[in-house]
Symmetry: D2
Subunit: 145 residues, 4 copies
């Protein structure tokens, strides 16, 4: 399966007094990219919720390498790097769209739960969803970085 990265412009209000994007916004961009990625693999948040599951964030990590500022555009490449029907890790690379330089790499760690936030094995409870995540581990990007 071949998809496109998640791209957009930096917003003015996302910059801080150093004239660069506040590092705090990258965690928000990871969420934007994750939502877009899950839509593209056919597994939207709404579909997950309608199936009775939730996908809370257990942990995030982000390494900042180069800054972005107002006027820049960025692209985020998301990858499922670990998935076992119960826990999932998503890895993100954030690139400056024009210079192609890597601005940040990041990870978010998740587990599946039921509506009451009780951890749940979707490989057992929802095999059809499980298959979609398994396939999504093989996603590649059609657009070169």
């Amino acid at each position: 399966m071949e998809i496109l990265p998640y791209c957009r412009n930096v917003y003015y209000y996302e910059t801080d007094r150093m004239d660069v994007v506040s590092h705090t916004n990258y965690i928000r961009w990871m969420e934007e990219a994750r939502v877009s990625f899950l839509n593209k693999i056919g597994m939207s948040y709404h579909k997950i919720e309608e199936a009775g599951f939730m996908l809370p964030v257990l942990e995030v990590k982000c390494k900042y390498k180069q800054s972005l500022t107002f006027g820049d555009s960025f692209c985020i490449y998301s990858y499922i790097t670990e998935y076992n029907g119960f826990k999932m890790t998503i890895y993100y690379e954030i690139y400056n769209k024009d210079t192609k330089s890597l601005c940040a790499s990041a990870q978010s760690y998740h587990c599946f739960t039921d509506k009451n936030m009780k951890p749940t094995r979707i490989n057992q409870k929802a095999p059809q969803l499980h298959d979609i995540f398994i396939n999504a581990m093989k996603v590649t990007y059609s657009e070169l970085k």
Copy 2:
């Protein structure tokens, strides 16, 4: 009834590339000040919700006069300027805590609704809440601006 204004420091991430607080944050500060004001008059959001009501925002207005930046503190004085048991207007003055200069004046317009967002007269449905809002119109601030 005499109360204190809502005061806090500017956060680093609230500044933008002009090295001043992004004008977009003042609308958030109005919400912070409103929550604090309602707590002080004995009418917290939780109390409003527990009584079966909601207080959505119908309109906001904000006039920007002087900028604030990282390192500054501000104080917000909130006043109920209109209230008729159904609609309510809150007026806000945002001051630089140190220089005492007026940085912005703002207004938010609200109506009371039930849980289904249907407009509701709380003077009829909840006279005891109504009295609290009537009294809150007479609030004064103990701290000089």
Copy 3:
């Protein structure tokens, strides 16, 4: 001159505990739409800054009519409704992209200043920029609301 509205999806982190977009974000969306609009008319923030001017926000107003939530997309139509070479008013209509219902109408008020924030007449100081703003008052949208 015919342009397209500014459209995007609602982000998950833009919702609040009422399961709707926090009203505070609409002011940010106005800024996003303004930046996009100015780009489209050939008058980007960078171009304004390079010419030695700034365009601070003097006042904002926003009327909330219908809520948006996660999963929704919106389109913003921006119009210069007043411009005299010195002050400018931009009017915004925010539509739910799918239902076509009007979610909010808003205004931002601006003046032109020099780099030291001193109010400046760009019709006198920069006639070629002035002409662009004059023309931008006639912008229409190719996409029906």
Copy 4:
């Protein structure tokens, strides 16, 4: 040296549609707590900047353990866990102020740079600042968690 933790209420606009604080805000809270901590140890951002240095964020990590929501208050305990005159690691524990339960633990990684973002050894360039950071590693909190 004994200091107080950084405490405040959750803001309404910090919640998301799950009725809990968006996980993206914890990174902002870390910045708030860091600024407060540096003020308390006598090493404000302004002092660092005036001495000709900057303290960019190289990496952040945050583990989410328990959620917080509107109406809750939290306290953040910050600790310098690594410092060598060049790089610094700050560790944060975020507690629910009322229940005393640990809601998140987090780390931010920094290095010192000059005004041009070139990495700099402050132990050599500014020994008096260096001493303050060395002493800050021994900070304890007067308020029990």
